[in-house]
Structures are given as structure tokens and as C-alpha cells.
């Protein structure tokens, strides 16, 4: 499927209740409360709760709010037209000031790719839903993200540090990690 078609299909799963009547109105019931604020009243409001973008990347990027994450992921996997059954990269990123996770998905049947991003501004106690039950590979990858960024995943079977020792303090890959002894900053 082309990026355009994917965008329309996936966007339609999470319609924005604040969409104006002039934009496409779907019959499906609203999913959750509005979590997106329109920039300016004059701009057309995004018909979907998800943000799509293709700039600065070779794949279609979808940004989703943390509460819709698990829903979106299971639909992406199970829907026959998208069928993203291969999660090949799960990355934690410290977008100062937010923390986020980036999922790269591919479909082995339709051979299309998509990138899903989720961010949270909470740096003290960030958590997202685990997608372990959708793709088993996420189990190890999420442990790695927890180890390096401190992002907790709900419903994860075994969330503990993977590479570092259990009594390590701090989360090394965050941009504000300070280690006087071992880190050499130019």
C-alpha cells in the first residue's frame, strides 16, 4: 500500500472528535477524549488523533498519544490490509525535553513499512503500554529501553535491567546523564 493509502486507512481508525464538519466525518464512534489541541482556529484541524509526517524520513511516520498506543499497534498487526507482523526496530530516544519510543514495523506479506512514534513529557516516571503481547520480540527490546532510558512498560512480564547491573543508578542514554568518572566529554 502506498503511504497515502496507509495514512488514510490508519487515520480513519482514530478520528478526531474536534474535526470540523468540512473535513471528512466518519460514522465510527469517538474513541477517546480529545488529546490534541489545534494550533490556530483558522487551520484545518487534523481529522485524526494521529499525526502523520513524511519529512526527514524515508518511511511514513505516525505519532500517537500514549493512551492509544496499544490499540493502534494491535490494529496495525491484525488488520488484513496493513498486517504489520514484523517489528524490526524498537528504539528509545531522548527528544529533549520529552522521552519517546520509536517503532519500525514491516509487513512480510504486503512489504510496506511504517514508523510509529510515541512521546511523553513526564521524565520522572515515564510509562507506556507494552506491545509484548503483540510482537514477542518486544520483550527484550523494551527491557533494553528501560535499562537505558528508564521508561517503564505496563504489563511487561519481566521488566528489569538487561545490560547493566541491577544496582546501577541512573539511565545512561538520557542526554542529562552525568558520570564524572567514566564519561569523557569534549
Amino acid at each position: 500500500m502506498t503511504n497515502e493509502a496507509l495514512q488514510n486507512l490508519i487515520g480513519s481508525w482514530f478520528p478526531n472528535s474536534e474535526a470540523t464538519p468540512t473535513s471528512e466525518v466518519k460514522e465510527s464512534p469517538e474513541t477517546a477524549e480529545v488529546s490534541e489541541e489545534p494550533d490556530e482556529p483558522q487551520k484545518a484541524i487534523n481529522p485524526s488523533l494521529l499525526e502523520f509526517s513524511e519529512e526527514g524520513s524515508e518511511f511514513l511516520n505516525v505519532t500517537v498519544q500514549p493512551e492509544h498506543l496499544h490499540d493502534l499497534m494491535s490494529r496495525l498487526k491484525n488488520d488484513k490490509q496493513t498486517k504489520f507482523d514484523y517489528l524490526f526496530c524498537l528504539t528509545g530516544v531522548d527528544w529533549e525535553p520529552e522521552l519517546g519510543v520509536v517503532y519500525h514495523l514491516e509487513s512480510t506479506t504486503h512489504r510496506h513499512n511504517i514508523v510509529v512514534k510515541v512521546k511523553t513529557a513526564d521524565r520522572e516516571n515515564p510509562n507506556f503500554d507494552s506491545v509484548w503481547d503483540i510482537w514477542r520480540t518486544a520483550e527484550f527490546h523494551e527491557r533494553e529501553v528501560f535499562d537505558f532510558f528508564g521508561i517503564k512498560f505496563n504489563n511487561h512480564p519481566n521488566l528489569k535491567r538487561l545490560f547493566l547491573t541491577p544496582n546501577w543508578e541512573g539511565f545512561p542514554l538520557r542526554k542529562d546523564y552525568v558520570d564524572e568518572v567514566n564519561m569523557v566529554t569534549k
Binding site: 526527514g56 514484523y86 528504539t91 514477542r136 527484550f140 545490560f163
Partner: protein
């Protein structure tokens, strides 16, 4: 009335925990496996990683792109050239730099020779793990020939660093083509020898057939790639689906099997040896003339954005994910290593089998621990 003998219903066995510790001849590096065993049957396998974690991803955030190439071949040191190629490709993709044809062809040839070398070592170690200690030497004998070829051209035997963003570090040595042709001729007689020694052996087949089965859906769900996934029927060869360098001009078959057991993984790798030989044969005679390097700035700055490049190493699909904000160091550099996902399938495959099966499964997963730990 006489009482029948009562079997004590409270008699039960207890599983015990064993460390297949970081120093162990069968774990191919410093991997600690916490096994929960009941007698001889494995109940749970939990890998304990981090013994060789060197924080490569954090280091990349402070290094320039040319320096990052040198870090990559310490990750999966058996496919060092292909790792280097991955980073060079991602930088060239971001800069929209077109490398000369000569560079592409040489990169592919060296990449396939690296794959053959890695599989030679894998075969030797596979035999050693199931008990046939002699195969180790036979595998290494052929690998030595390749190491000598690499040393002459690239300057090193293990961490080659021959690829740089923009091309190659030096031109190929004048003897390169001749020696590679000699190697191909020699190796074509050796693979049947490998088959006679190990593949056809009844004891070996009994040790590996039906052991550690991974179904197709599980293979995709666990994110496995490379020979592990191809033995379960998943067509995932990056060289076919997202070809890079000169791989779009060669014809080769993708090695696929459907059983998903240890023997299928073994056969897939042997088939890959034949296919790699055929790729090198197709390219070695027609290396185009031209420059061996394209000029780049001394300080490489990738434009703002995100870039992803996949390559097929000997272990599976290596992914390089770069987030750049336009400065000379990347903002985030992530390596998606094939061994990491393959290892997550180990628990699923090994539960219910015996310790001997675990060793055979680990041998066919072909893990290189520095690749997993980064």
C-alpha cells in the same frame, strides 16, 4: 486384607537452577544463561547479558561519522566488513552521495567473502559443539585462506575497516582477483567434504532433526532474521528485498526451508555458502574501472532527519538507525542487531528439550555476543 504398596504421592522432583556461566565452551562468548532444569529437561532459559557491553551507542553520540565506522566492526566481528558497509551506506544515503560502480562491486565481493568466512567458522564450531572436535580445524583451515586475502587487501584479518563513507580506504591489491579465484576453486571441493563429514552423519542428524523447532509465525513474531528465520520459511533476505551496493545485478537463490528445526538452520547456512560463492564468481571477473573513493568533506554533517539502512550480515538483518540534527555528531545512533532478536527466541525453542539440545540450538543460532551487547 493385605494392603497394596502405597506409592508416596508426596514424592516430587524439584527443578534446580544452573548457571551456564559466562565462561563456558558452548556459549560462544560471554553469555550467561540461567537454566531452570528438572532432571535433564529444561524448564526455562533466561539469558543474562551485559558482560561485554561497551556503550557503543552512547559513544556514537560523541564521535564523527568516520570514527563510528571503526566502532562497528567490534560489534559483530565475524561480519566486520558488512557492518562497516551498513554505516557507510546510511551516511551516503543521507548525503545523497553516489559512489562509483567499482566501489559497489568491490564492497559486495568483500561482503560475500566475509559471509563465507563467518559461515566457515560457524560450521567448525557447530561440529565442535555436538562433539565432533575435528571439524573446528577444517573450518578454520579455509577461513585462514580468506584471512590472508583480507590481510593483503584491507590490512587486517579481523577488524578490517576497509569501507569508509564515500568508498574504500585503499584500492584492491593487484593479487586480489587471482587469489579470490584460487580460493573459489579450492572451496568448491571443500563444501562437499563438509557434507560428507557432518551433514550425512547419522549421529549428527539424530542430534539435530526435530530439535528446537520454530514455527513461521513465531519466527516473525520474535523478530528473527537471517538463516534462523529462513529455516522456518520466512522469506526475509535483505539482499533480495532491499538490495544495496551491487546486489541488484547478481542472481542468486534465497535459501529457504520450512521445517524450522536445527537441521534446517544448518542446511540453510550450507546453501548460503554455495550462493555466496556464486555471487562472488559472477562479480569477480568484471570489476569496473574507476575511482575507489568519492570525495566527502573532512567533517561530515548529515542533514536534519532520520535515516535507516538494512544490510544482511551473516547472522541476519542489521539495521542502522540515525537521527541527525544537522551537527557533526549524530543525535541518536541505534544498531538493531540480529543476534538480539534471535536470542529472544531461544527460550521458546529450548524449553522441553534437554541440555544437549540447548547446545545444538545455540550452535545453529550462531550468536556473537558482542553483537548483542554492543
Amino acid at each position: 486384607m493385605e494392603e497394596a504398596t502405597v506409592i508416596d504421592k508426596n514424592f516430587k522432583t524439584e527443578p534446580y537452577q544452573i548457571n551456564m556461566g559466562p565462561q563456558h565452551p558452548a556459549t560462544h562468548g560471554v553469555l550467561n544463561l540461567l537454566l531452570t532444569i528438572d532432571g535433564e529437561i529444561i524448564k526455562k532459559v533466561e539469558p543474562d547479558l551485559g558482560y561485554i557491553h561497551r556503550s557503543i551507542e552512547k559513544m556514537c553520540e560523541a564521535d564523527s561519522y568516520q570514527q563510528i565506522v571503526h566502532l562497528t566492526d567490534r560489534m559483530d566481528y565475524l561480519s566486520a566488513n558488512i557492518n562497516n558497509e551498513a554505516v557507510c551506506l546510511v551516511v551516503e544515503k543521507a548525503l545523497e552521495l553516489e559512489v562509483p560502480d567499482r566501489v559497489k562491486v568491490i564492497r559486495t565481493i568483500i561482503g560475500e567473502l566475509t559471509r563465507i568466512s563467518s559461515h566457515c567458522l560457524w560450521w567448525g564450531v557447530m561440529g565442535m559443539d555436538v562433539g565432533a572436535l575435528t571439524t573446528y580445524f577444517y573450518g578454520f583451515r579455509d577461513r585462514e585462506m580468506l584471512n590472508d586475502i583480507f590481510e593483503e587487501t584491507c590490512g587486517a584479518r579481523l577488524t578490517m575497516n576497509y569501507n569508509v563513507p564515500g568508498g574504500l580506504m585503499f584500492d584492491i591489491h593487484p593479487n586480489f582477483v587471482k587469489r579470490v579465484k584460487k580460493f573459489i576453486k579450492h572451496f568448491k571441493t571443500k563444501i562437499p567434504e563438509y557434507d560428507r563429514l557432518l551433514t550425512g552423519n547419522v549421529i549428527f542428524q539424530k542430534r539435530t532433526k526435530g530439535v528446537g523447532v520454530l514455527s513461521k509465525e513465531d519466527a516473525i513474531s520474535f523478530g528473527t532474521s537471517g538463516p534462523v528465520a529462513r529455516a522456518s520459511g520466512v522469506s526475509c533476505d535483505v539482499r533480495k528485498h532491499h538490495p544495496y551496493s551491487a546486489l541488484d545485478r547478481v542472481t542468486f537463490k534465497e535459501a529457504l526451508k520450512t521445517e524450522g528445526d536445527t537441521f534446517a538452520r544448518y542446511q540453510v547456512r550450507i546453501m548460503e555458502l554455495w550462493e555466496s560463492l556464486s555471487i562472488v564468481e559472477q562479480l569477480i571477473d568484471n570489476i569496473p574501472e574507476g575511482e575507489y573513493r568519492e570525495k566527502t568533506n573532512a567533517v561530515i554533517k548529515l542533514p536534519k532527519g532520520e535515516y535507516y539502512q538494512k544490510v544482511e550480515t551473516a547472522r541476519g538483518e542489521l539495521g542502522v538507525y540515525v537521527i541527525s540534527t544537522g551537527t557533526k555528531n549524530p543525535y541518536r545512533f541505534k544498531f538493531r542487531s540480529p543476534g538480539f532478536s534471535n536470542l529472544s527466541a531461544l527460550n521458546h525453542m529450548a524449553v522441553g528439550g534437554k541440555i544437549g539440545d540447548l547446545v545444538a540450538i545455540m550452535a545453529t543460532l550462531d550468536l556473537v555476543i558482542p553483537d548483542i551487547d554492543r
